[in-house]
């Protein structure tokens, strides 16, 4: 880790102005950034500490939930309004990392954390994400934890955030402030697939600061759940995960949102699976069809083919466990 400079501005405008400089980035909780810098996966000349900014509030109104970019994972997970009105968010956060990390880490930082692909985090390995053009050893190598959807020959790394999967299921929108002013980005448009530019992971412009995340409320959000499968009992990234929001009326699926973690190169929303369920009775047959729709086009590799099966089971199980499925 190089000797970097450090500024802790007190207002967002200054923060954005500073962060737009080359070689500069934000630090919030620091829980991912410091590891990336220690590992040599990232190298910054200057850090802009945003912890003094007044962006930590969580509010709720008719439109839904507004989570400050600097709200902490624990704070959001334990918020009563979140637990009752947006359970998938609370569950996804509580299934993330460890108590200590959740106390430290921010919502903005969580969305922008980077892949845990071992090749990416190791400067001694090739990686197109870290060094464009150097190759992707995961495609032919150790890829048990890698993506089966959204990959390219240049990168098959998954996005590790549980929260992003949950937000994606709820059609959340990220508010950002940049050198050119404020704008909004639906979470579904925040992440890019790797294609042949795996080093470009999101659609933020230089210096853009996540100031808040807006989450629409309503019956879907209220009936949302998160199910995460992993090899260790807890304190592990997802092998696969499901965020599901189902609104049933008269035994039929009135509306549904399904997003998945651990299987895609970005948090993975599946309109195909949703379509397979919408308007139908939530039967085992319908869910199985949704599962097949989800993995149609999956590209399993040597060690991760099981994810194709496991994620379908996770979907079935998730709906089943919550009593939505008979």
């Amino acid at each position: 880790m190089r000797a970097f400079g450090y500024t802790a501005p007190a207002d967002p405008a200054t923060a954005v102005r500073l962060a737009a400089q080359p070689g500069t980035t934000y630090v919030a909780g620091g829980t991912d950034l410091l590891n990336l810098m220690r590992d040599g996966a990232e190298d910054h000349e200057h850090l802009v500490d945003i912890n003094r900014l007044d962006l930590a509030a969580v509010t709720a109104d008719d439109a839904g939930l507004h989570v400050g970019g600097l709200a902490r994972m624990r704070q959001v997970a334990e918020d009563r309004r979140v637990r009752t009105g947006f359970p998938v968010l609370s569950q996804a956060l509580l299934a993330s990392a460890s108590p200590q990390v959740r106390i430290m880490a921010s919502i903005g930082g969580n969305l922008l954390q980077r892949t845990r692909c071992g090749y990416f985090r190791d400067p001694g390995s090739a990686c197109n994400k870290r060094v464009p053009g150097s190759g992707c050893p995961a495609v032919e190598g150790q890829n048990r934890m890698h993506a089966v959807l959204g990959g390219s020959p240049h990168c098959i790394a998954t996005h590790p955030s549980d929260l992003a999967v949950a937000l994606l299921a709820l059609d959340a929108v990220v508010r950002v402030l940049g050198p050119d002013g404020a704008r909004q980005i639906p979470v579904g448009e925040l992440y890019r697939e790797p294609g042949d530019t795996p080093h470009l992971e999101n659609t933020l412009r230089p210096g853009e600061l996540i100031t808040a995340v807006d989450v629409p409320g309503g019956p879907l959000a209220q009936r949302s759940r998160y199910r995460k499968l992993r090899d260790r009992a807890t304190f592990e990234f997802a092998v696969v995960s499901v965020a599901a929001a189902v609104h049933l009326r008269g035994g039929r699926v009135r509306d549904v949102r399904l997003a998945f973690g651990g299987i895609g190169t970005r948090p993975w929303r599946s309109p195909e699976a949703e379509d397979a369920l919408r308007g139908r009775a939530l039967t085992a047959v319908a869910v199985a069809e949704a599962g097949r729709a989800l993995v149609r086009g999956a590209q399993p590799r040597q060690h991760n083919a099981f994810k194709v099966e496991l994620v379908q089971r996770a979907l079935t199980g998730a709906l089943h466990e919550w009593g939505a499925l008979r």
Binding site: G118, R144, D231, L310, T316
Partner: protein, 718 residues
């Protein structure tokens, strides 16, 4: 008289550990200490062709950057250094993650930054990094430390051919890493040709010898101090390059240097449990009586060493089978040298005990009965049959449903499995000094180590009883080569090796003080025959006339000088046994396995401290769970780089993985063959059967037989 030994005594070093006062190797304050940071190779096989240290040297605070060109030339030590070569002596690269440069700077941050700026170019050759890629090249290595790699008893070929029931099965396990919580740390301080090293070492004397040999200095000029270890599990039992290189550059620079390995560096710097394949061919009668076992294992070796650590010793000692053929093959890979890791016989035991379960299923003989039927008598020191009975009774084994896959509870299948546990404990020469001070306090001194197994506590107990003083009057000093020499704290050998000497020295010190008392005209005991004097809680009492008594404090105080006694009593190595019973639950949909209940019954000889012994049981069980369910060092086959060199993707069990219920039972019969008050070496026993027991329970739960660890959910999508 024994008041403390055998009791559930709280750890005497507990306060130091819970207040942060205990000093581990990297905690020792050393004035003016520089920080070293290693640069490791990024190819597995080849040669360094160019190494540019210019930018690193120019970094702020950087004092020196060593490469193979200017690293002092050292001798490759033998014995407790098994790598076969020393890095940075020439350009050759034998494995990925091998030291190629060592940066020394004023601060840790500066050293780490400069290390990242050392540019190395290689001529790389294609490495072979997986056993599967070297299958044809396995060979029988020469005996390792006198242990043969082939054992033949009877005629196994004929026995297998004639057997009514035959089994031919293969088992696989990947490499594993010890991952003690405390990373390796070494600090070298030179003073006028004399070297002091603060080291996280499971053997201070072994470290001293290797340092002396490598650096060409007399051992007497090397002092190694290791007061506490934050875990070792074998990783710190042998000596590894960073310790030698760090001391060498500290001598060159003329200032103390401290190098602490990063977690990632620990994945190539201190050995590991080698990747291991095994094939078992078993012949038996229809009643499950073993007639022949052929056990062929293949372990990863490196191109620079031939050390086989995953011993299959249980296969030819544990059961009464007339025809046994054990072969421990190795295959040379371009990987770091492996070493021993907690319960090294585990890998083979996993195979043997799973195979017996398969035999059990084939013959319809209950797994416990099958083992009892094949029990090998080994004299009065073996209480394995008792372990089966105790464990089975406590677990409720006899209520076990016979058919696999028959028990379901909610979303989970429930299964019960069992296995035999056994460990061969080592023995090292040890001498100990016990001193009674003029204040009546007792000091134990022996250069053994505390790796968490309770050395401070148990030695204090033993000495307190031997001398006859309360526990709080004893201070135990260990982990320093200035103390009377002892061996490694590996192979569960610490207690059996050290206790006999501490006990004898304590008795001798006691006798010496009694002699002083009875000869001292100022003592109430003056003139009493020494054999009539008993000691208890710091007092010396005439057993014929209890009104005549004195105290250690008074006797030695009057004497004016401390009374020391040194003893060296050699014990013998031996075997410890147990039986472990586990209950698992397997999710019917996700295949995830939870271990929910464990009962272990053990024969550790005499129980010296139930508490520290139980600690080894709960630890061993959870280690077994890690081995069976989560742990796996993932190596990139093309490059030989470890892909998960951390603690978030190398999955050491967390608290929630540990079974809520673990019951530890002990036969508690002194082993007549052990000079350590009848105690045997135990620490590594209660892990050896756990992975097989878990696999057997998974079979019982689901009907699916898994033969390759880890048993992750993808293998159980039923």
């Amino acid at each position: 008289m024994s008041r403390l030994v055998g009791r559930d005594v709280a750890r005497v070093e507990g306060r130091a550990k819970v207040t942060g006062a205990a000093r581990y190797a990297a905690d020792q304050p050393v004035a003016g200490v520089l920080r070293g940071f290693l640069v490791l190779s990024t190819v597995a096989r080849g040669e360094v062709t160019r190494i540019d240290t210019g930018e690193a040297r120019g970094g702020p605070g950087v004092v020196a950057v060593y490469t193979h060109r200017d690293m002092p030339r050292l001798a490759v030590p033998e014995g407790f250094y098994v790598k076969g070569f020393l890095p940075m002596q020439d350009a050759r690269v034998y494995h990925n993650g091998q030291p190629v440069a060592l940066v020394v700077a004023e601060t840790f941050e500066q050293a780490r930054d400069a290390a990242a700026r050392v540019r190395v170019e290689y001529r790389a050759e294609t490495p072979v990094t997986a056993l599967a890629d070297a299958a044809g090249q396995a060979y029988l290595p020469p005996p390792f430390h006198g242990e043969p790699n082939e054992v033949i008893r009877g005629d196994t070929g004929a026995a297998l051919a004639a057997a009514p029931v035959r089994l031919d099965v293969e088992y696989r396990a990947p490499a594993h890493h010890h991952n003690p919580i405390e990373p390796h740390a070494t600090t070298a301080v030179w003073d006028d040709g004399r070297l002091t090293v603060y080291e996280s070492a499971q053997g201070v004397n072994a470290t001293r010898q290797m340092l002396a040999a490598a650096l060409g200095v007399p051992p007497a000029n090397v002092r190694v101090i290791s007061e506490y270890l934050g875990g070792g599990f074998g990783a710190k039992g042998l000596v590894w390059p960073h310790t030698l290189l760090n001391a060498a550059v500290a001598r060159e620079i003329g200032r103390p240097v401290r190098t602490v390995l990063t977690r990632a560096q620990m994945y190539t710097s201190n050995g590991h449990r080698a990747e291991f394949h095994q094939r078992l061919r078993i012949g038996a009668t229809r009643r499950g009586v073993l007639t022949g076992i052929e056990h062929t294992s293949t372990a990863q070796l490196s191109r620079t060493d031939q050390s086989v650590f995953n011993s299959s010793i249980a296969t030819h000692t544990l059961y009464a089978c007339p025809n046994v053929h054990v072969r421990q093959l190795g295959a040379d890979l371009d990987l770091p040298t492996s070493s021993f890791m907690r319960s090294p016989e585990l890998a083979a035991q996993f195979g043997l005990e799973t195979a017996l379960d398969e035999l059990s299923h084939r013959t319809g003989v209950d797994p416990v009965d099958l083992r009892l039927r094949n029990h090998a008598d080994a004299g009065p020191g073996k209480h394995l049959a008792e372990c089966y009975r105790m464990g089975a009774a406590e677990f409720g084994w006899r209520r076990r449903e016979r058919r696999p896959g028959a028990t379901r509870d909610g979303d989970e299948y429930v299964g019960w499995g069992m296995a035999t546990e056994t460990h061969t404990y080592g023995n090292f020469e040890a001498s100990a000094r016990v001193t009674v001070g003029t204040d009546g306090r007792v000091q134990v001194a022996v250069a053994t180590q505390e790796i968490g197994t309770g050395t401070y506590t148990v030695l204090s107990q033993v000495a307190a009883d031997a001398v006859g003083v309360p526990l709080d009057r004893v201070t135990t000093r260990i982990g320093d080569t200035d103390l009377p020499p002892a061996g490694l704290s590996v192979a569960s050998s610490t207690m059996p090796s050290v206790i006999p000497s501490v006990d004898r020295a304590g008795q001798d010190a006691r006798a010496a003080v009694i002699r002083l008392a009875v000869a001292d005209s100022r003592s109430p005991l003056h003139g009493v025959p020494p054999e009539r004097v008993v000691t208890d809680r710091g007092r010396l009492v005439d057993s014929a006339d209890p009104s005549r008594s004195d105290t250690y404090r008074a006797v030695v105080g009057r004497h004016g000088r401390a009374v020391p006694a040194t003893a060296a009593v050699r014990n013998t190595p031996g075997h410890t046994y147990g039986a472990v019973f586990v209950e698992v639950r397997v999710h019917h949909r996700y295949g995830r396995v939870r271990v929910t209940r464990v009962v272990g019954a053990y024969d550790p000889g005499r129980v010296l401290n139930r508490r520290t012994l139980r600690g080894q049981v709960i630890g061993g069980v959870t280690w077994g769970i890690g081995y069976a369910l989560t742990e796996h060092t993932v190596v990139d086959r093309a490059t030989g780089r470890v892909v998960n060199p951390n603690l978030s993707t190398y999955l050491v069990p967390v608290n929630a993985d540990a079974p809520p219920s673990v019951t530890a039972l002990f036969v508690d019969q002194p082993d007549p063959g052990s000079a350590a008050m009848g105690a045997k070496g135990f620490g590594e026993t209660p892990m050896t059967g756990v992975p097989a027991a878990i696999g057997n329970a998974i079979f019982h739960a689901t009907g699916r037989r898994l033969r390759e660890v880890p048993f992750t959910q993808d293998k159980l999508l039923l």
